[in-house]
Symmetry: C5
Subunit: 370 residues, 5 copies
């Protein structure tokens, strides 16, 4: 990773080292809303389906969309995970199977969306969140979650996510997820994504800690550049979390037909977690400002120190040099007079130097501190 | 474009290079509200009309206002686009044909208006938005949209807009616009205008990116001037978008008689887009502040470096110069004594210089970093 | 106007060059509320009355308050304008004639009031606004407007106002004011006052423009002092406009018995104008902050430039001076040796100087930019 | 007053020069709420009572609390003023006589309270405000006001207040206070206290004015220290006023059983005054920030000026010194050659100096401005 | 405590010197919500129980959880205090005895929680607060309080708290706590914890005071580092108190079935105290910003002073050195001419020096102030 990459705006370029993606072509302004446009050269994304009830479970990759059509209505919960949003026909087909709204599908394709919740009447709830990872740069992948009466469909931008522990829990029938409906699954997906912000935020705490140590001890020249990079990624993090909290609070206030009364308390808990992340991020931003002040005062202090060294040297040796210059003048004068003596000259210079040193010492310029 | 132009306040001078406009003469304070005043020398603006239903469409330039009078009531949707707001009689005549409120017409003539929505009872809804273009400066043209039961009238400040893709869609009967009423057309116009903020905002992201690279690598002297220019245009952008979001949310909350329940969801989507633009702009403004800090710390660092060079040179050579001065004094002294020897002098000077260098090295002033 | 005047706090000293006023003596804290106290030496203020209906109009200076008593109830609209608030008996007498509340009358005498609207039950509405003029300093005169069933009474601090165009419109029966009641007149007065903020705000835009040009090109030393003066007057402007917007919105929300449904739309328009002024002022304040940053970075840049000149001169000539010092030493040495030659010395000095120059050039310190 | 005192946090140490007080011992955390604890060595405070109706009035110091017990219920309004909150038994006794709530009495003893209004059901209203005086430091004394059906009890921290004009008005039966009930008295007390903030705020305006003049003309070194002191006292002022406004607005919104409909308009007026004070304080704080910017830019400018003097001197005389050094070298050279002449040397030095001066002049470094 | 420790983020490391704790292992993102995970090597925490009614009290350490099971329902109030949250089986068992919700128990184990109130229907109220101590670093320990119909269960992170005075009051039957139910006990616990923020906040006031004195008098180099440390701990304090105020206000607004009408007034008082702490913290943060400005201006001033000394010395002695250099030149000149005299030379140098000194004096550079 070269330095130029380091300073890219991360929220405009959600590239992972695993799978480089180019900027999605945005729909041209003025194009028809709700019309899905494929990215040039897009291929159908990989998909997996997991269908389960309290007692049985099936899991398969989806090569043929007919599989999904057959599954619908036969299982208490069907969870389809789609690893890509670039291929319009696939989105269209899945949308048709589960009755997903076209505006929501269009939002999937625009990776600049803010997190939000949209209730599409009696059809489904649409939740858009961002999944944070450090890989090692901040990667804020957009994840769309559709919650219906008997299904959850999740769309990621690319394969690879943070949901594997959740999948293990479902397979092993650990915990309550198998006993509950799709709303609990949707909550589990979102909660897992939100909880992944904590290790990310803590990584920034560690970086700020390291920067602080460096600023206090011996700042290198690019410490501000790195602090700026941290600040900017914190801005991105805040931009990602802030609307997520609003969205989750919206679910808590208006659960609608798809979220049971019992699950609301869980969503409230997740909204609280968002608030904690936000709180951490805000504190880190304040910390960054305070570090900037600290750095600037350190730079000024070092400047003062440099100037003091210069001034002490110049103010002592320039007068002494003047004295030697006086004695070097080619002027008519009475040789061998008393005041013309070498000891006298050195005494004169020594006294001058000592007086100046004493003056500087009283000013405190010779102290290490000050 | 010379530099003076670069620093004009863009929100007071919405000039495009295509068609230079002079500042509109504002109505003198104290003049009658709702009274339209022509700009001196104003000529009737060019106008076009497009009338359509699901199955047929007609499109024509409007040279005679009688044409409009005839069309009204005969088509499901009549869209009149007026390319100028300076000629009061034309505004008056169109206002009479469609029953537009005088205060709204007066607002058209005042190009300093904030975006807003005003419901004029049973007559029409009036939406005022700003159309953003880079041409290449930021150009925020005011566009007024009147939405009635069977018409949409749009007023621009001058010919040329971002709506051509929309017109193509209508002509080609692509998408839903031909199947829907004037509210969907009004939405399409506003949505197209809002979506055009994204490429504009991204252009600022690119400029900030370039400034960041330059500040990190080798800032030229006017980098702050250019950063200031970006900041100022972001202020203008924010001033344009902020009230637009409020206005659109107002439509969502109180659609009134002209916006169907079905179109509200589209307006909500556009309000979301406004929020995303605002969010981008705020992030860029924060970024600009952080870049200012970064720049100032870089300037201070370079100052420190300069001072270190000066101090090292002065602190080493001024004492050495003093030694040569001592040996240049015209004082009575025992010639040819041991300490009077050339090798001794050079050794003395060399040791002095080395001790000072060692001291500076321990202080870290000779490192590249520090 | 000398410089000390330039920096007076304008909101504490609303002096115009036309008519110098001394600070109003405030009622001592603890004095009876609603009790009017004359300023020492106050004389009855000049007053004018204008009474009109759709078809007739009369206008006269008021020397005898009996005139007003007679007029009340005989005309659809009676507008009394009082050019001074210092003479308590006059205020008292007018208050008795029109039934004005004592607390409102007391507020008139205190020129530090924020703009506000107070509904005094069935008696009248009291609106307090500030009239902005540049004369040439910012002058924010307080104007009190009482709106009753058949009268409008306006109190200014001193003669001279911005309402003459409105008076002309009434006299000439232009526009709607003659056809409407006192609420439309009150609206017209307030709207005229609010619209006068635009030229004032634009004057600050021009001053900021000029300051920006100067900061970019060649800042004089007092540019920051002038920027500070602009900032301070913008603070005053904001302090004047902010509560005005709240007050007008209050009328829009609760028009009360004196404002007709039809006039509410006009007051809403005026509240919008307040918001636009506020928006301009806020943008100018942000601009002022950005200009401060720009100025400080320019100062730092010039400092860097100065230091570079000093360092280059010192770092080149101090070593050269050292060489001449070495050759000036009065030390025993073999004369006429090869290295003792004049050409050798000049070569040595030339090479030293060139090496140093090359080093500085590589550092970029000899560039104009950097 | 020595300097250390000047910088004490005023809100933690409300000492007046008249009567030095030590910090009140706070109740230890974890102690019983509503339990009053005497300050060690506290003596019963001095008290006065004033009882009046429209036609008669009595006034007396209170040495025996039985006096108060007798008075209650016999006069329309009984006003007890207690000059100290340190003696728990006295507070307890008065609380018993008037039925004051224990939590409210405990709040009196804690001088760090924010202003607030607490309605204790049908018993009484409790209002806590801060009384501002300059003596000459900012003194923010806490005053508790209990308002019941027929009494007002006020508790101050120590004797001496701003209420004497109010007492005179009651004695002389001036104004409306004698005609009204205890709610009007409570209003009068609070209004008098709030109005005393204006002269205090204006004193800070004067100090900022003086600081501004000094910063523009010739800042002494401690000007920032004094500006910091002003800023800090403004923070204290804001901390005192902000909650007072909230408290008064609370009374306006929910007057409860003790405030008559007619008095609400007076409390609204006082809340307005709080808002004006707050507005002034906020403006002064902004002004303080702007002055800090101004000062820092002035310091930088003076630094630039100093550096320019140094650079001009050094850059001119160091090369000249180098020339004299060259001519002082003890090198073998052809004496009496043409270029060895004194006039030549002086010409060379003069031309060098003039060229450098011209260069500096073109850079503008010799201008006074720049 | 070494310096590195001083700069740890306190809110991530709540270690006390008494009992070092390692960071709690957080539940991995994606783990089952409401599932309690033990810390590796966790042992059952120490617990105490206190059960009382108005007339009798019993108190015991809890070694066997059967004890608690027996006590429930037999005493008006049972207060269980658990000194550790790391041992999952113990939490589980206590949760079973008192019917505590699993999500609340899980929150206990996550020490990063914000203060909050959660009503778990008819079961219990869960309040999470932070207990502040200086030991000597800021230690913000999380305390969970469960309030049921006849019990209060408190969970701390480790033994040692601020509640001993409360326990004494209960044992000695002082005050009202023994006469009241569990809601009053819960209030007492929370109030004691909140009141402990005051001495903590005042310790920061003292530190800021000391920093201010030092900055005004003679700032050492690390004063900004210490100011930064104070700022950071104030951020932590604010993060701890802010949500506590919200939580308590939530109880005041919706007391639910467990808080009696009579206790609400006490909770309101505690919420007020939170607000006071917050107010203090905000003021201290503002103070910290103002101190940063003060420090930076002091640094700039000292820089100016240093530069003035350097400039005065250099500007006086470099020209004088040039004169001696001129007289040291080995140039052909008429010896013994009038202008070649020693007195003349010294006069020349003296006049030069005096003129320069006079110039600097007029500039004010020789003043102590300036």
């Amino acid at each position: 990773m070269n330095r130029r990459d380091l300073f890219r705006l991360p929220f405009l370029q959600a590239a992972t080292p695993l799978e480089p993606v180019h900027r999605r072509p945005l729909p041209a302004p003025g194009s028809e809303p709700g019309v899905l446009v494929s990215e040039p050269g897009a291929v159908p994304p990989s998909m997996t389906v997991m269908a389960y009830g309290p007692h049985e479970i099936t899991e398969a990759p989806v090569d043929d969309l007919g599989l999904l059509r057959n599954m619908r209505g036969k299982w208490p919960v069907v969870w389809v995970n789609v690893n890509g949003v670039a291929h319009a026909p696939t989105l269209q087909a899945i949308g048709d199977i589960f009755g997903l709204h076209r505006l929501a599908l269009e939002d999937l394709g625009d990776v600049r969306q803010r997190a939000k919740v949209e209730a599409y009447g009696e059809d489904h709830l649409f939740v858009l969140v961002r999944m944070a990872r450090l890989a090692p740069e901040l990667d804020l992948e957009q994840v769309g979650v559709f919650l219906g009466r008997d299904f959850v469909v999740t769309f990621q931008e690319r394969p690879g996510d943070v949901l594997d522990p959740l999948r293990q829990r479902i397979r092993a029938s650990r915990g309550r997820v198998r006993q509950n409906g799709p709303d609990y699954l949707a909550y589990s997906v979102i909660d897992t994504i939100v909880d992944h912000y904590f290790p990310v935020a803590e990584a920034y705490a560690d970086r700020l800690d390291a920067l602080e140590d460096e600023i206090v001890d011996r700042p290198s020249r690019d410490v501000m550049t790195r602090l700026h990079a941290v600040k900017r990624e914190l801005m991105s993090l805040r931009r990602a979390v802030w609307p997520m909290r609003d969205a989750l609070n919206h679910i808590v206030r208006e659960p609608g037909p798809f979220v049971t009364e019992q699950s609301v308390v869980y969503f409230r808990d997740t909204a609280d977690h968002c608030f904690q992340v936000l709180d951490l991020v805000e504190t880190y931003r304040d910390l960054g400002s305070s570090l900037t002040d600290l750095y600037l005062s350190n730079v000024s202090n070092r400047m003062n120190e440099i100037m003091k060294v210069l001034t002490v040297f110049a103010a002592i040796f320039i007068p002494l040099g003047f004295i030697t210059g006086v004695y070097g003048m080619d002027v008519e004068h009475p040789r061998r007079a008393w005041w013309w003596d070498l000891p006298f000259v050195f005494t004169l210079m020594g006294v001058t130097a000592l007086l100046l040193l004493a003056w500087f010492a009283r000013k405190g310029w010779l102290d290490k501190e000050g």
